[in-house]
Symmetry: C2
Subunit: 390 residues, 2 copies
């Protein structure tokens, strides 16, 4: 599994948008958006086909089908050590919408939310969509750096409502330690804040690192936490648009359901996407383990090759299939380097722009390594050649 032979470039060139194969010029290798080059697990396709063959796509429940909610609850109870009531799970059309929903539920005009810097742009974007104020706090640029808990507490004001936790952290690949999570959780309790725990990357963690959900640290912390997750990263289901929101209790569940706008039918989650997730969680554990094992090898290749290039400094991520090398010593900024790599190396990367990750991402680029060894090495060779020939 996870060989180059499995990858169907013909299909990727038709189907993979968002800066990927179908959206780049012919001949370019897109190490851009975090979306695997491999086909999904065959069990998922079979589950979809079976459900579709019965030809009923009636209105789903606003909160999601019980088969979905039960599967998600079982997963979080057994694999994340967060005892989860299926009645507090909501099927949503993406983790991105789950983040927005959480902001809608807890942020009113002028309210503040703590947002990491750097982190994926969706947190700031969602807070500001609710007329809230995104308050950036610096988090380590290296995966093994520790969060500065005093800085976090100093950023809390009377208007703070939410701490946005992204664990593992996109783009740096940091996996938070239990000690850090306990510190963050205790601050949330002390200041009566909700923790938005974005766990979309939580399957992609490389040993010896271990994933800890902040909601598993203590019951008191769990009661302050809304978990948001999705299935695009682990299972390659971005186009199905599906995620989960998990509330710890009835009160927060009702607030989240109201914020979802599902009951009016304006939003909701496609039933086949729910079928796919049930299959992913129930039937694809071996497939996922194989994928993570492959990714760990790809990470090692990626880090080793990038560090051989003069001017590039790359730390090994603990989680996520992303590397986030510092590129300042090349003498170029991220956009100049991005353009050079696209034009000369025919490799597309994501520049560490403030608008995508916060201003501390400046001087970095981000590359995804969720591809075959052959494609990854070809991409890295092209980058190496262009940068060494300058």
């Amino acid at each position: 599994m996870f060989t180059n032979q499995e990858i169907r470039l013909d299909l990727l060139k038709q189907r993979a948008f968002n800066l990927r194969w179908a959206a780049v010029p012919e001949g370019v290798i897109p190490l851009t958006a975090a979306d695997p080059d491999f086909p999904c697990a065959p069990q998922i396709a079979e589950a979809i086909s079976k459900y579709a063959s019965e030809r009923y796509f009636s209105y789903a429940p606003a909160e999601g089908h019980s088969f979905f909610r039960e599967s998600v609850a079982r997963f979080h109870t057994n694999k994340r050590h967060v005892v989860t009531n299926p009645d507090f799970v909501i099927a949503v059309d993406s983790a991105a919408y789950g983040i927005l929903m959480t902001c809608k539920a807890f942020i009113s005009e002028g309210d503040e939310a703590i947002v990491f810097n750097p982190v994926d742009f969706l947190f700031k974007y969602s807070v500001e969509s609710c007329q809230g104020v995104s308050v950036p706090i610096s988090v380590p640029l290296t995966p093994d750096g520790m969060i500065h808990i005093e800085a976090l507490e100093n950023a809390i004001t009377a208007k703070t409502k939410l701490i946005c936790l992204c664990n593992p952290l996109n783009p740096t690949g940091k996996v938070f330690t239990k000690v850090e999570l306990e510190q963050i959780g205790n601050l949330a309790i002390k200041h009566k804040l909700i923790i938005l725990s974005d766990e979309i990357w939580s399957d992609i963690v490389f040993e010896p690192h271990v994933y800890t959900s902040i909601a598993s640290v203590s019951e008191a912390i769990k009661q302050q936490t809304v978990i948001v997750t999705g299935y695009s990263k682990s299972y390659g289901l971005a186009g199905l648009r599906v995620g989960s929101v998990i509330a710890p209790n009835e009160k927060l569940y009702q607030q989240m359901l109201l914020a979802s706008d599902h009951q009016s039918t304006t939003h909701g989650c496609n039933v086949l996407a729910q079928v796919a997730v049930k299959s992913a969680l129930d039937d694809c554990e071996d497939w996922l383990q194989g994928f993570v094992k492959h990714l760990k090898n790809m990470r090692d290749i990626c880090v080793e090759d990038l560090n051989k290039i003069v001017g590039i400094n790359c730390h090994a991520p603990q989680g996520c299939y992303l590397v986030f090398p510092a590129i300042t010593d090349t003498g170029m900024n991220a956009e100049t380097l991005q353009t050079l790599l696209l034009e000369k190396a025919k490799v597309a990367v994501v520049p560490g722009l403030s608008k995508w990750f916060g201003d501390r991402a400046t001087g970095h680029i981000r590359l995804s390594f969720a591809t075959s060894e052959e494609i990854l090495k070809e991409g890295l060779n092209r980058i190496t050649k262009v940068l060494n020939e300058r």
Copy 2:
């Protein structure tokens, strides 16, 4: 086709929510939400299975796949006589979201939108979600009544931005005439208003009535019109959550795309839903014709049987698979009658409450007849028996 034997009550009881089989007590016939009891066309299930079997569900384009946009554009060009550029089509996760998007694009705080009374609640709901003011104008309660165009013009103020047209009109089953549409369109031109043309019911029109899209009446009217449609009514795809938004030109398209929030990945349309719609529009014309033919027979049975009941007055709808009988002469209000029918007749109907349809729906109930002759007759017999035995 469209026989009782085709209906899988076992699956409906697992899958049909939103007041339908899976959401009512055992033994109750739900003539409630507008969602067919029949399985979808087999071609749709096959198209989904084929796409799924290739196991790639990568990120779709924000605006929708080109196969989807081209199919939708071809349909509107050929079947609706609205020459449609695929580049101005957006795949959305429901017609309901299409309505909200249109309001987001054109309504700011305090802006006004003309909303029919009665009509589906989603128009008022969406306008108010954007801090707009929903200005109700009375439309005929009988399908053959004509709109009072002076009343519409009198409702227009300097703050009016939008006319919300629902054609065919849910819940009355009125299909607007070309003359009426021209009058409405000319008002929109004169007052520089956008027309939101909700065409989700446009396939379900009973001869001799003919559907006219307001965007087909003249090029000038088309340029003021955003078409919103969906595929749940015609093809039974509510659970796939899919609709289309069609802008007439680049400027309105860009406004709609911005309002969609698709580019941030917060919202979007599931790829399998897009595959289903392509198959529905390209391969299922015969299936749809058979469905509409069956529905016309069901309408006739429904209207005839209901009118035999003392106190119930039912007009034959020109479009939609809904009847909307006046029930005031029963001496009951709609909620009392709804409860009586649920408890004694074991038939669920939708009461004509102000919150669902506007205050002119008072004294009516709404029934869906998208089922088999056997189930429909059983439901009508039960209603007749209970009301005649009072």
